[in-house]
Every structure is written in structure tokens, then in C-alpha cells.
């Protein structure tokens, strides 16, 4: 047994037994084939397949158990759930202080938006999330999505700004929290998209000067960190514009963000353009279409469909990257959470807040990444047998 064992490399016990049985080893016992075998066999094969696996499993169980036990005690069993001030939490330093989140969740989600008007950003977020969900349906991938976003976006803008229909006007400096994060992510994508298409087409162009301009812009933006673009937008944009033109702080951040998004989206779209078979271009030429019609009718509809899964992934990145506006002082979700942490009356409950923020970001990003994975599988269905 031991001599044969060394010549056979790491195989599952089942494979090993089969090989030994085939070699005529009378001791080898092969389990019956098929999926059956019950949980005991499953555990033995998947958790204790070899000595090394067993050690790994045991170590992981111990570590996970310790972490899970401590987390459970901190987050649930020893946590403080009631009260209206920090006193109860301070008396119980070993547990989480969910009272703090209960007190502060509206501030974290809406920032300094007038308290009585916070139903407006709430409805705006519900509309945005519903539009995002509706856009996931492939039947919407045409003029309908565009129309929906224009109508919905207008409603959201009216809700947030106010000033009409008896809604009080709320300026952007009072906006805060999750609505700002959503506005930044969605508007950056929407604003950057047309520019990105032009850049991607320009980069594939035969005209050397146009190509050089596009390559230069894309590589410049992709070569520097987003923070430097945001700093540039917030500090230098006022210098760039004619004297006397004042530009809103949120809009400045949005412009910086759009430039960033355009460069990255352009590369994604270029991937789609390159994936289209050359025959499509040639066929369009043979039909006598000019460049504009060829691009509009033949190339882009196919290319944009191809890039939707990577586009969703890029959007997840933008959604996370909106948190960087913290550095230039825009009141997004992360900044709002951080301000809540710094409230002198509630010092020392950072971990609870960060967990709450992480959970919020996670819900958005994870569901989008799941959707992107589903889409990729679904779109590749025709290529799989």
C-alpha cells in the first residue's frame, strides 16, 4: 500500500481506490458510483479528502468559530439596542451600539437635507433603483430605456431641487448621503457615455490626428489617479472658466468624475468595437453606407450589446469610486457616515457606522455584479453547447 501510494500523486480517495482496484489491489474498496453516498461521504470527500485537507479544514473551523463567536457577541448578544443617548452604550463597551445607528441613520442616508423634506430624496432613490432594475430587462435596451431615464431623471431632479409645484428649493450644498452617491454614479455614467463613444471611435479611426488626440486623452486620464482629477476639478475648474462664472461644487466634482468615467468607458466600448467581425464593416461598406450610417446602424448596435456586461462592472467601479469625493468635501454616503462618527456626543462608534456603510455599498455592488454575471452567461448561451 505504502509503496504504491508514493507513485500516485494527489488524487481524491475515490480516484485512488479506483486506480488501485484496476491495478488488482485486493484491499481497494471503491464506493458505488453516482451522486449518492450521503452527507458523511460528502464531508469526507470535500472536507477531509487528505491529511492536508483535514488540517486546513480544522484550522479554518477553529478560526471561523472564534471570529464568528466574537462577532455574534459584539453585534447581537452583547449589543445595545435601545436608549436615545450614548450613556447606555458607554456602559456596555463590549457590544455594538445599534442605538447610534438608530439615531443617526437618517443623517447618514440623507446628510444635511432638510429633515422635513427627506421624503423627497427617499422617493428619488426608489425611482432610481426601480429604473436601474427596469434597465436590467433586455426588452428595455432600446429607445424605451432612454425615454424612461429622461422622464425619471427629470422627476428626480424636480424632487431633489424643488422650487416648483410648491416644493421648497433645496440647494445642492444641502444635499447629502446616498442620493448624492446615486446622482454622481448615474449622471457620471450618463454624461460620460456619449463622450466615451466618440473617444472609442476616434481611437479606432484611420485619421492620425484624431486618433492621437483620443489616445492622448484616454491614456492621460487612465494614467493618473481619480483623486488628482477631482482635486483638479474642484480647485482648477473655477480658474478655467471666464471671470465671474461660478460653478456649483457638486457639478465640479461631477465634471471631474465624468472625464474619468469617459476614459474608462471608452476602453470598454473599444473592446466591443474590436470584437465585431471585420465582415460587418466590409458589408456595411459594400452597401454603400457612409461612415456615420455605418457606425449608427451596423457597428454601434452590435458593439454596445457586446459590452453591456463589462459596462455593468465598470459601473460598479464608478459606484465605489464616488466615495472618493469625500476628499474634496462633497457630502456623499461615506462623508455623511464619517461626519456622524465625528459627532462629539457620540464619539467612539465608528465600527457600527462603517459596518452600516459597508452593508449599504455591498447591497448595491453585489446585486449589480450578480446581474452582470447572469447577463454574461445568458448572452453566451448561443456559443455554448
Amino acid at each position: 500500500m505504502s509503496t504504491t501510494d508514493t507513485t500516485i500523486p494527489n488524487l481524491t480517495p475515490r480516484k485512488k481506490a479506483e486506480l488501485l482496484a484496476a491495478a488488482g489491489d485486493p484491499e481497494a474498496v471503491v464506493a458505488p458510483p453516482g451522486g449518492g453516498g450521503g452527507p458523511v461521504l460528502w464531508v469526507r470527500q470535500n472536507l477531509f479528502g487528505s491529511i492536508r485537507d483535514s488540517i486546513i479544514t480544522l484550522v479554518l473551523i477553529v478560526v471561523l468559530g472564534w471570529l464568528g463567536y466574537n462577532f455574534l457577541h459584539w453585534a447581537l448578544l452583547d449589543a445595545t439596542w435601545s436608549g436615545t443617548d450614548a450613556a447606555a452604550c458607554r456602559a456596555n463597551p463590549d457590544g455594538a451600539c445599534w442605538t447610534f445607528i438608530g439615531e443617526k441613520y437618517r443623517f447618514i442616508l440623507f446628510g444635511t437635507y432638510p429633515y422635513g423634506e427627506q421624503w423627497r430624496p427617499t422617493i428619488m432613490m426608489i425611482i432610481t433603483v426601480m429604473m436601474l432594475a427596469a434597465s436590467c430587462d433586455r426588452r428595455m435596451w432600446n429607445w424605451r430605456a432612454l425615454a424612461m431615464w429622461i422622464v425619471g431623471g427629470t422627476i428626480c431632479g424636480i424632487l431633489l431641487f424643488g422650487g416648483v409645484f410648491g416644493l421648497s428649493y433645496v440647494e445642492t450644498s444641502s444635499w447629502g448621503g446616498l442620493p448624492v452617491t446615486l446622482v454622481l454614479a448615474v449622471l457620471a455614467l450618463a454624461g460620460a457615455f456619449p463622450l466615451a463613444i466618440l473617444l472609442a471611435l476616434g481611437r479606432r479611426s484611420n485619421l492620425p490626428l484624431i486618433k492621437a488626440l483620443c489616445v492622448g486623452f484616454i491614456e492621460l486620464i487612465r494614467g493618473v489617479p481619480l483623486i488628482s482629477l477631482l482635486i483638479m476639478a474642484s480647485v482648477m475648474l473655477p480658474l478655467f472658466l471666464p471671470t465671474g462664472v461660478n460653478i456649483d461644487k457638486l457639478l465640479r466634482a461631477l465634471i471631474g468624475f465624468m472625464l474619468f468615467a469617459a476614459a474608462y468607458l471608452a476602453e470598454v466600448i473599444r473592446g466591443g468595437l474590436q470584437a465585431i467581425p471585420k465582415g460587418q464593416y466590409e458589408a456595411a461598406d459594400a452597401m454603400g453606407l457612409n461612415y456615420f450610417n455605418k457606425t449608427r446602424l451596423i457597428i454601434l448596435p452590435q458593439a454596445l450589446r457586446l459590452v453591456i456586461p463589462p459596462l455593468v462592472n465598470t459601473f460598479i467601479g464608478f459606484f465605489k469610486d464616488t466615495s472618493l469625493v469625500y476628499i474634496i468635501g462633497i457630502f456623499d454616503l461615506l462623508t455623511a457616515g464619517d461626519s456622524a462618527v465625528k459627532d462629539p456626543a457620540w464619539r467612539g462608534f465608528a465600527n457600527e457606522t462603517y459596518l452600516f456603510l459597508a452593508a449599504t455599498y455591498f447591497v448595491f455592488c453585489f446585486s449589480m455584479s450578480r446581474y452582470s454575471q447572469y447577463l454574461e452567461r445568458d448572452l453566451n448561451k448561443s456559443q455554448r453547447r
Binding site: 500523486p9 470535500n46 489617479p225 482635486i231 480647485v235 465605489k320 461615506l334 455599498y361
Partner: protein, 397 residues
């Protein structure tokens, strides 16, 4: 228009078409048009900027680089004091960025590869934990993760007075303080011995590979190399009389003095960058391994290679071809993401130039410097990775 075969029929000698239908002339026209629009836009921005700067009396030019900076930097690799110039401060920032980026690249590659392989493990629990790690880390913003690490340090680490002491290494809210050997002239020779050892190890591995190719005889390259790289310096050290004296950090009134230290901001940044990027690298490594034909691992098993050896000699070299291009962009991401340092108070290039901008008011020059620094670093990494990619690429006929 009647269809006609072009074969045999000579094309009509460039019929005098109207000049605006000539593709060449059109191409020139479009390019001139676009360049004129872009150029005009840029000119408009620049003239506005110049006008605004004159009106607000903002100085221009890079003259400020030579003047005294007047601010202190908490974490420096080279000697620096507030009396030094802005140029020196910026140099400190560049070194800090490079330090965190390089360490991050090395650590996240190791961690990411382990987790990527872990996700493919036969051990169900290990694979699931690696999956949960990747999904949890990828879907939360890096900046938030940096805050979490810093907050955890502040929350769970002891005060500097009760610092945990492990063989002279002190861990506390003030960071990590560790003893360093007192300078000694013999250390130069030890350093040279290390270099000689590395060169010798390379020579041995080269010789061993050629001998194995020629005769099939194996040679314990790893152990011999380690022996050369560690043993040679040790011999020199002992021959010099083993001069060893430790500069141990001691707690004074204002914190620790003596020894080396790693500040909590640096640790949080490095930890955050490593853990975040490792999640992406894990996915790249996993995809790379899955892209290798299953027949390759079966063939390796048929040759009698152990799974570790098969992974090292058969699977990973082939997977590398798929892995390297996306890996390059992750390395660039680490470098760019290290600029988040500014949010948690680690003095990297962006943080220092931001301070410079606030002190001098020269926003344009500071931003240009930030971008120039990052473009240089990004370009260097791309060039190196492209060279490496070419080296390992499949050589086809």
C-alpha cells in the same frame, strides 16, 4: 446603377470628382476641423486661466520648488525637516508613494495568488471562504476599508504606555516600533556579501538548469541559493566579529524614540490596498488557471508529477500568459489607489502636493506635478510589464 464586374475592366483613371468627395481631402478637412475645435477650446481655457490668475494675483512658474516648505512630514524615508525645500518634500512624497505601491504589489500578488488557488481547492470550506472573501472585499469601496482598518487599530490596539512587546517589537496605537541595529562599518561588507550571494545563486540556478537539460540530473537549487544568499553574509558578519548592538525604541514623554517605526496610517494603507487588490488578483489568477486546458493537468498527473510540482511547472507558466495583462492593470491600480493616503493622513505625493497647493496657492503647477509623477510611474510599470509579457508570451511560428 448597373452592376458590373470590376475584374479585367481597368478602373476609370481617377475621374475628376468634385474635390469635397475626395476621401483624402475629406480626411484632412475633418482632422483640421477637430484639431481646431479642440485647440480653440484649450486656448479658451488657458486664456481664462491666465486672466483669472492675474486678477487673483496667483504666482505662476515652478520657482516655489526652491523655497522653504515649512511643514513637517510624519513618515519619511530620507532625511527631511521643515527647513527643507518644497522640492525635497515632494521627493519624500514620491518615495512614500513608491514604498507603499511596491510593498502593496508584492503582498497583494502573494495573497491574491493564494486566494485564487484557494477558490479552486477541493476543500469545500476553503473554497467557500475564499469566495466570500472575494465577494465581500470587491463590493465595498477601498476608502471605506481604509477607514475601517484605521478605526480597528484605534479601537483594539493598546495605548502606547501598554504597548504589546514581542521580542522588542512594540505594537500600540502609535504604530509598530521595532529595534534596529546600530550602524557599523562591517554592515557595508555584509551588504556586499548579500549582493554577491544573489549573483552566485543566479549562476548556480543557471548551471543547474543547463546540467539538468543535458544530463537529467537534478540539483537542489532552492536550498543552494538560499544558502548562498543567507550563508555568505552570515560568514562575513561572523568574520567581522559579529558587531551587533540594538537601538531599542523607548517610550518617552512624547512617544517613542529610537529604533525604526511603521506608523498606523502606513499600516492601514498597506493593509487596505493589499487586501482590496488581492481580491481582484485572486479572480485574475483563478480565471488564468481555469483557462489552462484540463488535459494539461491530466498529462502532468500521468507523468507522475505531484500536484504542487504540476502547478509550478505546468499550470502556472501557461496561466501566466492569460494572467499578466490584467495583472498589469491591477498593479497600476495599486499605484493610483495609493493616492487615497491623503484621506487617512499618510504623506504620499498627493497629500504633500495638496499641502503645497494650500500653502502656495499654485494649484495649476501642483496638479501638473501630481499628474506628471503618476504618469511617469504608470508608464514605467506598463513598460516593464509589457516587456515581461513579451518574454513569457507563447512563441509561435
Amino acid at each position: 446603377m448597373a452592376m458590373q464586374s470590376t475584374s479585367g475592366v481597368p478602373r476609370p483613371a481617377a475621374a475628376k470628382a468634385v474635390f469635397w468627395r475626395d476621401p483624402n481631402i475629406r480626411a484632412i478637412f475633418y482632422q483640421v476641423l477637430v484639431v481646431a475645435i479642440v485647440g480653440g477650446f484649450v486656448w479658451w481655457l488657458v486664456s481664462n486661466t491666465l486672466e483669472n490668475m492675474e486678477r487673483q494675483r496667483i504666482a505662476s512658474g515652478f520657482g516655489f520648488l526652491g523655497t522653504e516648505s515649512g511643514f513637517d512630514i510624519g513618515d519619511t524615508l530620507v532625511h527631511y525637516s521643515p527647513a527643507d525645500t518644497y522640492a525635497r518634500a515632494i521627493w519624500v512624497g514620491i518615495l512614500n508613494t513608491l514604498r507603499v505601491a511596491l510593498l502593496g504589489i508584492v503582498l497583494s500578488t502573494i495573497l491574491g495568488t493564494l486566494i485564487g488557488i484557494g477558490r479552486l481547492s477541493r476543500n469545500w470550506l476553503l473554497a467557500k471562504i475564499c469566495t466570500v472573501y472575494v465577494e465581500a472585499i470587491r463590493n465595498v469601496p477601498l476608502l471605506l476599508q481604509l477607514f475601517v482598518w484605521l478605526s480597528l487599530f484605534r479601537f483594539y490596539l493598546p495605548d502606547k504606555a501598554n504597548a504589546v512587546d514581542i521580542i522588542g517589537i512594540k505594537i500600540s496605537k502609535k504604530g509598530l516600533q521595532f529595534p534596529v541595529p546600530v550602524e557599523n562599518p562591517a554592515y557595508q561588507w555584509v551588504g556586499i556579501a548579500v549582493l554577491v550571494g544573489i549573483v552566485a545563486a543566479f549562476a548556480v540556478s543557471h548551471w543547474a538548469r543547463r546540467r539538468q537539460a543535458a544530463t537529467g540530473k537534478q540539483f537542489p537549487t532552492v536550498w543552494a541559493g538560499l544558502g548562498l544568499m543567507l550563508g555568505l553574509p552570515l560568514l562575513v558578519f561572523l568574520a567581522a566579529g559579529a558587531p551587533l548592538q540594538w537601538n531599542i525604541p523607548t517610550l518617552g514623554r512624547f512617544g517613542f524614540s529610537g529604533g525604526g517605526e511603521v506608523l498606523p496610517e502606513m499600516t492601514a494603507l498597506l493593509l487596505g490596498l493589499t487586501i482590496y487588490t488581492a481580491a481582484f488578483i485572486a479572480e485574475i489568477v483563478r480565471a488564468g488557471i481555469l483557462a489552462v486546458n484540463k488535459g494539461q493537468s491530466e498529462a502532468a498527473a500521468a507523468l507522475g508529477l505531484r500536484s504542487g510540482t504540476a502547478m509550478r511547472l505546468i499550470i502556472l507558466p501557461q496561466a501566466l500568459r492569460v494572467i499578466i495583462p490584467p495583472m498589469t492593470s491591477q498593479y497600476l491600480n495599486i499605484t493610483k489607489n495609493s493616492s487615497l493616503a491623503i484621506a487617512i493622513g499618510y504623506p504620499d505625493i498627493v497629500a504633500i502636493l495638496n499641502t503645497t497647493m494650500n500653502q502656495t496657492g499654485q494649484a495649476v503647477e501642483s496638479t501638473v506635478l501630481i499628474m506628471a509623477c503618476y504618469l511617469t510611474v504608470s508608464l514605467t510599470i506598463s513598460v516593464f510589464m509589457n516587456w515581461y509579457n513579451k518574454r513569457i508570451a507563447l512563441v509561435e511560428r
